[in-house]
Amino acid sequence: MCLGIPGKVTEIYERDGLRMGTVDFSGVRKEVCLAYVPDVTVGGYVIVHVGFAITAVDEAEAERTLTVLRAMGDAVTAELGEPIPAADGAGR
């Protein structure tokens, strides 16, 4: 349940007074609450847990972690609602 998935912030907006955004997890896009990462800007990477960004992280680390998470299928699907698509050219 404490799994965190890294993704890229593609959009930031306010909804009902809350700082929200769209985060791209290698192709899966989700609405995420950004209230706890006030300094993150569009293009930045965050670690997301149950729909909330809990920290910023750099791009290289995010991609590295996604590679490992792809191999953890079930746990990631539970966290994200769907699996992370295979990396481009990964052939699976």
Binding site: C2, L3, V50
Partner: protein
């Protein structure tokens, strides 16, 4: 060494393991706290790759597993009400209560829905003013800021049909309880990475000092775990016991201040019963008095609950690391992920499910066919 080839960087894994073999001169027993770490360790066979004598004990860091039976029974009593939409993270649905589970209730017509974020439950309450929407707020410190924001947001929106059934647990008191137990064999801890992303690691410094136990904040990837184990063993060999941070990319000493502030606003620290372990003082969070209007436990009177655990389940001993799943007579026979007797066989973070999914067998005992796929 078949497992090593599956690592992101097998060469680096070999380097870390070789270094560990050089550093370790004696047997040491370590506990990984987080269920996500247990999953990685068992799946990748890290415990089987370690030098002889370095033993990993699996900790209680599975929120689904430690959620008390009374909370589950209460959840089901509320979910069975015809005016209610009951929402929960998916991994709570198959956890056995005294008589049934949420998924079976759903099959019998209760409106039980899986949400991926507590904010989805708030949105549902906005969309369905004619129904009571209840969210089962469980988890460690990683999840508490999300659940706190759901309450704050429901308050801001003026929602009178949203409430939360809270059973949050806190990691440091759980670790203290393990260290205080007479049978404790743990000589060093790998602390849970994402819990520390939120809380930082200052709470662990007094623990490391008082119990002379090294604590290494560790991530959940295979290489993170190998490095965390190496850092802990190095401390043990050198006679040091401090808090170190392996998971530098996601954890800072003081954690996430905004997230901690939300937790402080919405929750207060309380005694909490941990399923299978018992009540631990000041080890959980419940709603603060000023948010009592959002407390499902107060809003819905379900009468007296009498809880009954399955007599064959040894979840308590599994959660404290006293036993491993393959020690349990029911493991893989009467108890499987499809038909679990206890919570550790249900959750993806549960030790029993991790063992089962990795195909670990009881010695000389036939397993249910599921394990042999």
């Amino acid at each position: 060494m078949k497992y090593l080839d599956e690592y992101r960087d097998p060469d680096l894994a070999r380097v870390l393991l070789n270094e560990l073999r050089t550093v370790a001169t004696r047997p040491w027993t370590l506990m990984e706290v987080c269920g996500g770490q247990t999953h990685t360790i068992v799946r990748q066979g890290i415990d089987e790759l370690l030098p002889a004598g370095i033993r990993m004990i699996h900790g209680p860091g599975c929120p689904v597993c430690v959620t008390p039976l009374e909370t589950l029974d209460r959840a089901m009593a509320i979910a069975a009400r015809p005016d209610t939409i009951f929402t929960s993270f998916g991994d709570m649905l198959r956890v056995p209560g005294s008589e049934t589970d949420l998924l079976s209730l759903k099959a019998r017509g209760a409106d039980v829905r899986v949400v991926y974020s507590p904010m989805d439950a708030v949105l549902l309450a906005q969309q369905r003013p004619d129904r009571q929407v209840v969210f089962l707020a469980v988890g460690f410190e990683t999840t508490a800021p999300a659940n706190a924001m759901a309450v704050l947001h429901a308050e801001a929106l003026g929602l009178s049909n949203f409430s939360v059934l809270v059973s949050h647990v806190l990691v440091p008191p759980g670790m203290t309880a393990i260290l205080e137990s007479a049978a404790c064999e743990v000589q060093a801890f790998l602390a849970a990475g994402h819990v520390c992303t939120v809380m930082g690691w200052t709470e662990y410094e007094p623990l490391a000092a008082a119990y002379h136990v090294p604590i290494v904040v560790t991530g959940f990837e295979p290489l993170d775990l190998l490095e965390g184990i190496l850092m802990a063993v190095r401390q043990l060999e050198e006679g040091r016991s401090v808090v170190e941070n392996q998971y530098v990319r996601a954890v800072h000493r003081t954690g996430n201040a905004a997230a901690q502030e939300a937790i402080r606003r919405v929750f207060r620290v309380t005694d909490r019963a941990w399923r299978g372990i018992g009540t631990i003082g000041a080890s959980g969070l419940s709603l603060a008095g000023e948010y009592a209007a959002f407390d499902a436990e107060i809003r819905f009177d379900v009468g007296r609950l009498s809880t009954v655990e399955h007599p064959d389940c040894i979840a308590g001993e599994i959660l404290t690391g006293a036993k491993v799943p393959t020690d349990c007579a029911a493991y893989g026979a009467a108890c499987t992920p499809r038909s679990p007797l206890g919570a550790p066989m249900v959750s993806s973070e549960g030790t029993c499910a991790a063992y089962f999914n990795a195909g670990r067998l009881r010695t000389n005992v036939p397993m249910a066919g599921e394990a042999l796929r």
